[in-house]
Amino acid sequence: MKINLSSIPVDDQEKALRFYTEKLGFQPKHDIPMGKHRWITLVSPEDPNGPELCLEPDEHPAVKPFKSALVEDGIPFTSFAVKDIAAEHKRLESLGVRFTQPPVDYGPVTAAVLDDTCGNLIQIAEGTMQ
């Protein structure tokens, strides 16, 4: 078994597609109409055949309160790996991305948390937990 897909619940698929491609820099992989929504997945340009991120509508009534509670406490929904967190932080801030946590050096890993404008916080991290 392997992990090929991970989903993130977004409040607006079109807005999410713009944020995740134009700001974060991911590439669209699939964009298939599915009734009133779309099946949208993205990949990293550093790993175009790697795991896909699915931008999933957050329509279920339980999802929004869950997302708000996470955001209130600053808890990221998921985490992405970056090579140079200081440079990424600077680049994204210059694009107007809001960070709830600037890069913090925890020792083995340095991590920051940003707002994806679609109701989630996202962690970006340099280094790995050993």
Binding site: G74, V104, Y106
Partner: protein, 96 residues
């Protein structure tokens, strides 16, 4: 005074204050991550929340909402009461 002394009598609560002095205005997530990874404090998020409530009632931490986020800020004023009550004497002052 009792509340302030009780609040700073606990090492986890002192570590929380240390981390807020390092960077003020943190989310609960950031504080918990710092406590776990920098201090080896493996307490649950709920336990840290309770510590923060003790610090809040002692007036040492304030929680401010900023839109959808909630941040914690350090307030050192209650500690000044301690140094006012037991001031450090400069040399020779005690003989006066």
């Amino acid at each position: 005074m009792d509340e302030v002394c009780r609040a700073i009598a606990d090492p986890t609560r002192r570590a929380i204050l240390d981390e807020l002095v390092d960077r003020d205005g943190q989310s609960l997530f950031e504080l918990c991550a710092r406590l776990t990874l920098k201090h080896g404090i493996g307490s649950s998020r709920q336990a840290i929340s309770q510590h923060l409530e003790v610090l809040q009632s002692a007036g040492l931490v304030r929680v401010e909402r900023e839109g959808r986020y909630k941040f914690h800020w350090f307030h050192g004023e209650p500690l000044e009461e301690i140094t006012r009550r037991w001031p450090t004497r400069t040399q020779g002052e005690s003989d006066a």
